[in-house]
Symmetry: C2
C-alpha cells in the first residue's frame, strides 16, 4: 500500500529540518576531508561512481534523508511505476519508459499488449531497418546509399536524441561503428531548417519525423518545409522519410513515409531517448549494437535504483541530497558541469528533463502545495565554464549546488603531452581542483581574492564515455528526477504549463486577439 502524502506532512521531513547543518569547509579540510572522499561514494552501473563527499551531508543528515526515503516509500512508488500503475495522474497514464530497456517487475499489459514485448519488437524493427539502410538494401530512388540522417522533432524528440548523438559521435568514429552523420531540425524559425538543408546532400538524406501525437506544430511545419525542399530537388519525399509516432496518430500508417516505428502515450517526450525516438536516429548513426549497449547501461542503472537502502542507491541518494539543498538549505538552482566536450548538450537535455518534470506547483492530485519544487538547471562543459560563469559560482552572493561529471579517459584516444601532462590529465586535474576550491575555499586578507568555500558539489566519475556509461548516466538522472517528484508528491510526467502559450499563439495566428496580445502582435507584424 503506497501513501501519496505531501512532503510537509511527513514526520521525517520535520525531523530532517532539525538536524544540524554541516560546515563544509571544516568537513572537507585535512584528513577528515580525505576520509570523506573515500567514504561518501556509491557505485553506479557501467563502472561509474557517484561521489558526494563535497555535499553538505554527514552521517546524521544521511540518516535523516534515508528515513525520509522510507517514509515517502520511494522504492515502493518506483515499483508501482514500472509495474504499470497510473503514475501520470494528470493525463491518467502509466509511465513505462523503463520498459524500453528492461523488465524490472511483473509484466505490464496495456491495451491488451505486453508493453515490454511491444517496445522490444519496435526496437527490433528499427534495427532491421537500420541494417538495411547501412547495407544499401533500402536506398534512394537511384539505388544509392543514404549517407545522412536528419531528425525532425522538438523538445523531447530533439534535446535527448541530439545530446546522445553528440555524446557518442566521436566514440563511434574511433570504434569504427560510425555509420551515418546525423543532423537535427527543431525550431519553427525557418532559418533552422534552411541552414540544415543547406548543409546536407538531400538526395542522400533520410529524414525521421518524430512526433508522438502527430500534431506538434513545429514538427509538422518543418516536415512541410523539408518535403517542399525534396520536391524542389526533384525527389519523392515519401522515399526519404520515416516516422516515429504513436499508433493512433495521424502520422501512423501514412503513405508519406517509407515506414513508421511506434511508441505510445506511456512514454513522455523527455523520457523517450531509449524508445524509438532516440532509437531510430542512434541506430542509423551508430548501428543497432551501439544502441543496444546504451539500453543495457540504462537497464543496469534502473536495477540499482530499486535498492531500498538509500546509501546504496545512487539515483535516490542524488535525489535526496538535491531535495535537501532545495527545501532545507534553500538553494534555488543547480548547475550540471560535465568535463567532457562530448556532453556539450547533456545539460540542455537535463534542463528539460528536470525543469519540465518537476517545475510544478500542485501535487499529483491537483492540489496546491506549500513548499518549493524543481530548481532551475543550467550548465556548460568544463573547462569552458571555468572561463565563464564559474566566477559567480565561486564568489557570487548566492550558493549554487554543482553536479560534476568526469571521465579518466577521453573518447578519441588522441592526446599530446605538453609541459609534463596530457590534455586529458589537465582536464581531470581541473575538475578535481574545482571541487576542492568550491568546498574549502581559501582565506585571503585581500577580500577580493578571498574564497569563502562552502559551495557543495558531487561528481560522477567513469573510465570513458562509451554507450553503456552514457545509458547509465541518462537513467541515473531520469530516476533522480522521478524520485524527487515522489518526494514532492507531484506528477513529474505531465506538462500542462506548455498549453496556454500554444492556445494563445493559435489566437494570434487566427487574428483573434485583443488587449496586450493584440498590441504585441502588431509590434511583431503578425
Amino acid at each position: 500500500m503506497t501513501n501519496w502524502n505531501n512532503l510537509d506532512t511527513l514526520k521525517s521531513y520535520q525531523e530532517l529540518k532539525n538536524v544540524k547543518h554541516i560546515n563544509l569547509v571544516e568537513a572537507m579540510s585535512g584528513a577528515k576531508g580525505a576520509e570523506r572522499v573515500g567514504k561518501y561514494s556509491v557505485p553506479m552501473a557501467a563502472g561509474l561512481t557517484y561521489n558526494y563527499a563535497s555535499k553538505e551531508v554527514d552521517d546524521d543528515v544521511l540518516k535523516a534523508l534515508a528515513a525520509l526515503a522510507d517514509e515517502a516509500q520511494l522504492t515502493e512508488k518506483y515499483q508501482a511505476l514500472y509495474e504499470g500503475e497510473v503514475i501520470n495522474t494528470g493525463e491518467k497514464r502509466m509511465v513505462l519508459h523503463h520498459l524500453t530497456r528492461g523488465q524490472l517487475g511483473k509484466d505490464v499489459i496495456a491495451d491488451g499488449v505486453n508493453k515490454r514485448e511491444f517496445y522490444v519488437n519496435e526496437q527490433k524493427r528499427i534495427a532491421e531497418f537500420a541494417n538495411k539502410v547501412h547495407s544499401g538494401e533500402i536506398a534512394n530512388a537511384k539505388g544509392e546509399k543514404f549517407t545522412t540522417v536528419v531528425q525532425i522533432g522538438i523538445g523531447g524528440s530533439d534535446l535527448g536524441p541530439r545530446a546522445m548523438y553528440l555524446a557518442l559521435e566521436n566514440w563511434a568514429k574511433k570504434h569504427d561503428t560510425f555509420k551515418m552523420e546525423a543532423k537535427f531540425i527543431s525550431n519553427v524559425d525557418p532559418d533552422d531548417a534552411t541552414a540544415v538543408l543547406n548543409s546536407i546532400d538531400v538526395a542522400h538524406s533520410l529524414f525521421i519525423l518524430v512526433s508522438k501525437s502527430g500534431t506538434t506544430l513545429e514538427t509538422l511545419t518543418n516536415q512541410s518545409f523539408v518535403m517542399d525542399a525534396l520536391k524542389k530537388a526533384g525527389l519523392d519525399a515519401s522515399k526519404h522519410m520515416i516516422a516515429v509516432t504513436s499508433e493512433t496518430s495521424p502520422l501512423a500508417h501514412s503513405d508519406d513515409f517509407i515506414t513508421a516505428f511506434y511508441m505510445d502515450d506511456y512514454i513522455g517526450g523527455r523520457y523517450s531517448s531509449t524508445s524509438g525516438v532516440g532509437g531510430a536516429v542512434l541506430s542509423l548513426a551508430f548501428g543497432p549494437e551501439v544502441f543496444a549497449d546504451f539500453l543495457d547501461g540504462a537497464a543496469a542503472e534502473d536495477k540499482l535504483s530499486t535498492n531500498k537502502d538509500a546509501l546504496k542507491n545512487p539515483a535516490m541518494l542524488d535525489a535526496l541530497i538535491g531535495f535537501y539543498e532545495r527545501n532545507v538549505l534553500g538553494y534555488p538552482c543547480t548547475a550540471v558541469l560535465p568535463y567532457s566536450q562530448a556532453l556539450s548538450r547533456f545539460p540542455a537535455h537535463l534542463q528539460q528533463l528536470d525543469m519540465e518534470s518537476n517545475g510544478k506547483s500542485v501535487n499529483r492530485f491537483g492540489e496546491p502545495i506549500d513548499y518549493v519544487t524543481g530548481p532551475v538547471i543550467f550548465g556548460e562543459p568544463g573547462t569552458n565554464g571555468q572561463h565563464s560563469f564559474y566566477q559567480l559560482l565561486h564568489q557570487g552572493t548566492d550558493i549554487v549546488p554543482l553536479q560534476f561529471i568526469g571521465f579518466r579517459n577521453n573518447q578519441c584516444e588522441n592526446d599530446v603531452d605538453i609541459q609534463g601532462s596530457t590534455s586529458q590529465q589537465k582536464l581531470c586535474a581541473n575538475v578535481a581542483a574545482q571541487i576542492v576550491a568550491f568546498a574549502c575555499g581559501k582565506s585571503d586578507e585581500n577580500k577580493n581574492k578571498n574564497f569563502e568555500g562552502g559551495r557543495p558539489s558531487s561528481i560522477i566519475i567513469g573510465d570513458q564515455l562509451d554507450p553503456k556509461a552514457l545509458g547509465a548516466l541518462l537513467a541515473h538522472f531520469e530516476n533522480k528526477v522521478m524520485f524527487q517528484g515522489f518526494i514532492w508528491n507531484i506528477n513529474s510526467f505531465d506538462q500542462e504549463g506548455v498549453q496556454l502559450g500554444k492556445t494563445l499563439a493559435k489566437k494570434v495566428l487566427a487574428h483573434e486577439t485583443e488587449g496586450a496580445l493584440a498590441e504585441y502582435s502588431k509590434l511583431l507584424n503578425i
Copy 2:
C-alpha cells in the same frame, strides 16, 4: 565628482523599497495592458526596440528607479569609464572596450598612445589581412586559398566570437558576404580539438590563436595540439597561424605566426568581441565591411547609453529593472530567450558576460557587501525552450524574470506557408503569446491547468538580425551589465574567482596534493 557608494547607503534605494509593488496580472489585462505595451517602450539603435510593458513596473516604480540612477550617478560613471578612469579597481586598469567601436568623450591616452587610434589601426590591419586572405595574396605554402578559419581560445576568446559568428553565418550566406567557414576549439578536453581537426581540411585552414596574456593553459595546449597535427600533415605550422594577443605577451612578435594583431589589458575577455578577438575571425569569415557594420551598431547603442534620462536609455532601464527584480523583488535568476535560431549561443555568451562580471561579493574597494549582486543567467532559443524548461517558468514554485528577443523577419528569407501562416509568423506569434501567457496567466478550476501569471518579461524587437542589429544587441547587454555593476558598487571587470581553481589544478598536475584533493586526484587517475 563621482561618489562610489554601496547600494544600501543610497537614500533612493530605501525609498524604492517603500514603493508599492504592482500586480502584473491586473496591469496587463484588458485595455490597461494594451496601453502599457504602447507606453513602456524605448527605441534602441539599429531599429531595435526595448519593450518592458510586461515587467513589474509602473510610473511610480520607474520614477524611483530613475531617482536611483541619478543618485548612483550611472551616466557619470559611464563617462568616467569611457574617458579612461581606472574603473577596474582590482587590477588597476582602465576599461576601454567602447573605444573599439567609437569615441564617446575626450581622447584616452594610455602608455603614451591614443587608444582609439590604436584600436582603429589594429582593426585596419585585420581588414587588410582578411582582404589578402580572401584574394589569395596570403595563401598556404602551395599558393592555394585558405577556405576555413579556426579560432583557438577559451572564455571571452571563444563564447562571444562564436555566438557572433553563428548569429551572422546565415545572414552572410544570404547576402553574399560569406567568405570562409569558421570553427572553434576551446576545451582542454582533447576530444574537442580532435573533432574539429577531423572535420576540416587542415591544408586549407588558417588558425587564430587568441590569448590576451599569452599564458592561458587551455589555449596554449590546443595550440600545441594543432601544431602537432599540422606537422603530421607535412605542413609548416607558422604559415597557418596568426595570433591575437597583447603586445607584452609571449605570443607577440613570435616567429610561430604569420602575423599578430594586438589588444591590451584595458579590454576584458568577455568584452572583447568588438576588438581583434572578434574582429579577426569575423572579418575573415564575413569580410571587414560586415564587421565594420557590427561595430557601427554597437557604437550607436553606446551613444544611447549616455542619455541621462533613464526612460530614454534602454541599457540603463534594463539594468534598473533587472536590479529591482533581484534586490527588491528577490528573484535569483534571469532567463534569456531569443526567438531566433541564429542566436542559439547568445545566451551562453550573456551567461559569461553577466555572471563573470557581476558574480561578486565585495565592492569595488574590496569590502564585503550586504546585498545580493549578479543573478544566474541561462537560456535557449525559442520556440525550442517552450518544449523544454518553460513548464517550470509557467507553473514552477519560483518566479524567473525573462528577457525575450524577437525579429519580424528571418535571415535566410526562405519560408513556407502552412495552414495559413509562414514559419516566421508562427515564430513571432509564439513569442507574443508567451509574453502574455506569462504576465496574465489564466485561471482554471482544475489547478493542474491553472496559470497564476505575474511572471515578468521584456522583449527586444527588431526587423532582422543583421550586423548592425547584432552590434546594438551586444552593446545593450554589455552596458546593462556595466550599469548594474555601478548600482551594486562592484568591479565588473575583474575575475579573481577563477584563480583558486587554476592554482589547485597546477598542484594536482605537479602531484603536490594532500587531503581531499589528493583523494579526488587518485579517483581521476592523475
